[in-house]
């Protein structure tokens, strides 16, 4: 099978690589580029653990061919920190204990980032809708919702500077 040239920007770094066109985006991110923050969970578009941002949109990377993202911008959880500092959403997750086993966390962070970028002042109900595509079997979601509510209320505003 002939390989295809994939040009992709991940976490603001440009990459060019030759891949089998059946490679899923999650495989390129993890296995070719080494960003193992993105997790493989259900691999059937259900759990959201593999969520990344493609041109600012939350998408499940287990259900996208890498070639479909040719020329586009991908952000993974490794791309959230700024100048060596955790992103406000990451800090809020830490402060509110918004994880236990941590397997859903990177996907949850990426859905949260895309959601808050689009809706910076959400209601609690909207926050719950914003993470509807991400399953967490540890927290019961409440600590995650509280963390995002704290970010939306501006409790981490000084961290955004």
């Amino acid at each position: 099978m002939e390989k295809h040239l994939l040009r992709i920007t991940v976490n603001e770094q440009e990459y060019e690589l030759y891949i089998n066109p059946k490679a899923l985006l999650v495989e390129v991110i993890r296995d070719h580029l080494g960003f193992t923050g993105t997790k493989r969970g259900c691999e059937s578009v259900s759990c959201g653990a593999c969520t990344v941002m493609i041109d600012g949109m939350a998408v499940k990377s287990c259900s996208v061919l890498a070639m479909q993202v040719d020329g586009m911008n991908v952000t993974t959880s490794e791309g959230l920190e700024e100048k060596g500092q955790l992103h406000p959403i990451q800090k809020a997750f830490l402060d509110h204990g918004a994880y236990q086993c941590g397997f859903c966390t990177s996907g949850m962070l990426m859905s949260s980032k895309a959601f808050l970028d689009e809706n910076p002042n959400p209601t609690t109900h909207e926050i719950r809708e914003g993470i509807e595509g991400n399953l967490c079997r540890c927290t019961g979601y409440n600590s995650i919702v509280r963390a995002l509510d704290a970010v939306a209320k501006g409790n981490y505003r000084e961290d955004k500077a």
Partner: protein
């Protein structure tokens, strides 16, 4: 494990149709791929050539015209439909349906044309679009034609598309005056596909009797289906409990559901009856107060 395939990414609709006419049954078409890639990974679908039309120019648009109605390009994402101010204003039932279709991530990448062509009887858009009287414009390298959604689904995961045709556009006529359409699915998670789903569109006469009824059932048969007997029981009638019961019963009898891990056949028939009664009543009441 996904079987190896040759990947083809045309830039224009013309290029895409030429490739598909060349490879016919040896190729599959991917747009958002939110359903197709699962099947490919499970080994249920294998193909020698994969034609990617996700970024083909000129398939991503939402237009409305007071004569021609709504036209959506096949590669328009669910999320774009959900967020469209135009659709929220003119076709609220479509925006509400999209809001509960799978998850944000899937809606960001999955497309309306791909969803309809995938032909899953449990898909959300088909029943809603059927009750709105929608059609699909399909095209091959030689020709284009319009197929009513009523005629589009011919069997389990089978459509009326020929081997060299793809869905290009979804067309929805301007709703009649004194009409309303609603949709509800029964499921355990809000974003899951319905164990049963029912859409109903009611058009009323001046005296609020039923002029026309359209009822479509999701996941109640091998394909999305119109509940035509239920519709017929309603035409000319006045809204009352007896008529709703008769319509619900008719729909539950003409449905052809299966038993599976989610629900028995009997329970699905019960759901068809309850949801049909509920949706007809709701659409009727909304139509009665609409312009």
């Amino acid at each position: 494990m996904i079987k190896d395939f040759h990947y083809l990414r045309p830039n224009t609709v013309g290029e895409a149709l030429d490739l598909i006419s060349q490879y016919k049954d040896d190729c599959k078409i991917i747009c958002g791929g939110q359903s197709l890639l699962i099947l490919m990974r499970q080994g249920l679908v294998a193909t020698d050539y994969l034609v990617d039309i996700k970024r083909v120019q000129g398939l991503n648009y939402i237009n409305f015209d007071t004569n021609e109605g709504l036209k959506m390009g096949a590669a328009t994402t669910h999320r774009a439909i959900e967020k469209s101010a135009l659709i929220k204003d003119k076709f609220k039932v479509l925006a509400d349906m999209e809001n509960n279709l799978a998850s944000i991530q899937v809606r960001n990448w999955g497309t309306i044309g791909g969803n309809l062509a995938h032909a899953d009887a449990a898909g959300d858009p088909a029943p809603v679009l059927m009750t709105l009287g929608a059609s699909v414009k399909v095209g091959s390298a030689d020709d284009t034609r319009i197929i009513s959604l009523d005629q589009f689904y011919v069997g389990l995961f089978e459509t009326a598309l020929k081997e060299d045709e793809i869905v290009l556009e979804v067309q929805v006529p301007v709703p009649a005056s004194r009409s309303a359409a609603v949709y509800e699915k029964f499921n355990l998670l809000q974003s899951d596909q319905g164990i049963i789903a029912v859409a109903a569109s009611m058009t009323l006469n001046g005296d609020s009797t039923c002029k026309e009824a359209r009822i479509a059932l999701g996941n109640a048969a091998p394909t999305t289906m119109r509940a035509r007997k239920a519709e017929q029981t309603l035409v000319g009638g006045k809204l009352d409990d007896g008529l709703l019961e008769a319509a619900g019963l008719a729909a539950s009898e003409e449905a052809d559901p299966i038993s599976d891990i989610h629900a028995s056949e009997d329970y699905r028939r019960h759901l068809v009856k309850v949801l049909t009664m509920r949706m007809v009543k709701k659409a009727w009441e909304q139509a009665a107060i609409s312009a």
